[in-house]
């Protein structure tokens, strides 16, 4: 029949997570349609129409969808569900918030955070914080799936899909958006950055985290953190890399003062190259690092900054 992919965006810009989800959808059921729900989100729809493999973009442009509140998104997706045998969303906080509601109302189980499409009915997904991989098969007529985007490559731009406006669905009136505090940053987005520099408990304070930021800025990298650093209040929650935070797979992941708890490794072990700086030679992070430096980070980080500067970075 066809797949429907829920677009991830902020009303202005389409997230790369959408294209990667289209890649997964293309391997499950074609043609692929993308649903852009938002407010004044025309530019997002235009961007979605260019993703290779997309046949049609459905746009629900209404104040009701400005913040993709799950309760309103549920009725919108359900109003379209009949026409699709697969409905997918990237496993972002939006996708995770919205899609299980759709699955429940359609009375089908959801398959969460797939990392591979083995066949249109068979998928791989990590369980136990990535310590095991489950291969799961569905024979049901509908598939509701969230996609861990690090498992898929963006298909690129090459399409010129039709864009169709659709009417908003009923507002159940059970929830409304009140406000948000977003971390504003000039740095690249954590899940899309080519380089991520992450700090852990070893940094010791929010003030010291500036050492991480300095090196990150020199490398045009995103800044990440371990759960311990977030829990200690050094950085906001959206910096957290790990099974329950963000899952990243950059070209380079530089872990500084991070011991390497299983939970954290689950969020970064698919990075192309992992480098680690830690003063504890026995830290588990060194078991996954391609390059390890046993050193005091308070000496190593300024030195790294200078070394990079010296080499014109």
């Amino acid at each position: 029949m066809a797949s429907l992919v829920l677009a991830e965006h902020d009303n202005k810009k389409l997230s790369d997570a959408t294209a990667k989800t289209v890649a997964a959808a293309s391997a499950i059921s074609t043609p692929v349609h993308v649903l852009v729900a938002g407010q004044n989100c025309g530019a997002v729809a235009d961007a979605a129409a260019k993703i290779t493999g997309v046949e049609k973009v459905l746009v629900a442009d209404d104040a009701l969808y400005a913040h993709m509140v799950a309760e309103t998104m549920e009725t919108l997706i359900l109003s379209l569900a009949d026409k699709y045998d697969a409905i997918l969303a990237p496993a972002t906080t939006n996708g995770k918030n919205i899609l299980p509601r759709v699955a429940a109302k359609l009375d089908v189980p959801q398959i969460s955070e797939i990392i591979k499409v083995v066949s249109p009915d068979i998928f791989e997904r990590p369980i136990y914080a990535g310590n095991a991989i489950q291969t799961v098969e569905t024979k049901l007529p509908k598939k509701i799936i969230t996609v861990r985007i690090t498992g898929f490559k963006s298909p690129g731009e090459g399409a010129s899909a039709t864009i169709e406006k659709i009417s908003p669905a009923a507002d159940p009136g059970t929830a409304k958006f009140v406000g948000e505090t977003l971390s504003r940053s000039e740095r690249p987005e954590l899940t899309a950055a080519k380089i991520v520099v992450s700090g852990g408990r070893g940094l010791g304070s929010a003030e010291n985290f500036k050492l991480i930021e300095k090196v990150a800025d020199r490398l045009h990298a995103a800044v990440g953190a371990s759960r311990a650093a977030v829990d200690a209040g050094y950085v906001p929650n959206d910096y957290q890399v790990g099974q329950t935070g963000k899952v990243v797979a950059p070209d380079l992941y530089l872990a500084v003062g991070i011991s390497g708890a299983i939970q954290h490794l689950a969020g970064m072990k698919d990075s192309k190259v992992i480098a680690a700086i830690n003063k504890d030679e026995g830290a588990p992070i060194f078991q996954v690092a391609d390059f390890g430096l046993v050193a005091d980070l308070f000496q190593a980080l300024p030195e790294l900054d200078q070394e990079l500067a010296k080499r014109g970075r």
Partner: protein
């Protein structure tokens, strides 16, 4: 106000998980089991609301094997009032769990259901949202902070870009994230007291729910292992290696 807190018995978060050699799952024999850490946060939040006088009764429910009664006892020792054990030996998929919980909600009529955002075994992150949808309720997932008003709740949520606040009408479902609170350890006197608190035993059939899995797990395997690389001696050697690898 009555609060319902669903809790799951899972492998303890400190245990190193081993995949069984026949690829049928992970080895749970003689392994320490505990309450799902996110559910502990849910119990704690409910207990704090009770201590503030906002909540009058906390009912905890667990769907699982007979030993899940131990998980319920832990919640009772933390301050919950009574438990419901829905006995089921095999895997119960999140949708079936949500259906059982819906039936319990219809009997118990809580104004708020608080549960963990995901269980650390199957990492599904579905049950709370599914329950809210089946009930036609609002939801506040990945909760960072809860403020209860009369008839509604403001829930601050941990989202990809930072924090977002939603207002949900009560009754509603809330799922907890890591930083909502720090769960207490139950004191010895409270553990003793918990032994006298009631736990009702039920089965999925009592709620008319078929828990036969609808997805088929073909196999469970070890993830691809990363080889440990090399140790470098200095920062400049590290920069050399990263440059050679073409990543900076």
């Amino acid at each position: 106000m009555k609060v319902l807190v669903p809790v799951k018995r899972v492998i303890d978060f400190n245990v190193k998980v081993r995949v069984k050699s026949d690829q049928t799952g992970v080895d749970l024999a003689n392994v320490k089991m505990s309450m799902n850490p996110f559910d502990e946060i849910a119990v704690e939040e409910a207990v704090r609301l009770k201590e503030k006088g906002t909540v009058s009764e906390i009912v905890v429910v667990s769907i699982g094997p007979a030993q899940a009664s131990e998980t319920l006892r832990t919640a009772l020792a933390m301050g919950a009032d009574r438990g419901i054990l829905v006995k089921s030996d095999g895997e119960v998929e999140p949708l079936a769990v949500a259906k059982i919980l819906k039936a319990i909600v219809e009997e118990e009529k809580p104004e708020l259901v608080i549960t963990g955002k995901q269980a650390i075994d199957d990492d599904s992150n579905q049950t709370g949202q599914m329950l809210a949808a089946l009930l036609g309720w609002g939801q506040g997932t990945f909760a960072h902070k809860l403020e209860l008003d009369s008839g509604s709740a403001k829930i601050e949520r941990e989202v990809d870009g930072g924090l977002q606040t939603v207002e949900v009408k009560l009754p509603a479902v809330m799922t907890t994230d890591l930083r909502l609170n720090e769960p207490r350890y139950a004191s010895l006197p409270n553990i003793m007291k918990a032994k006298k608190k009631p736990i009702a035993e039920k089965t999925p059939a009592d709620y008319g729910v078929d828990v036969t899995p609808r997805l088929k797990v073909l196999k469970v395997t070890e993830p691809a292992k990363r080889q440990a690389g090399i140790k470098v001696k200095s920062v400049s050697e590290l920069v050399d290696k990263l440059t050679e690898a073409g990543v900076i």
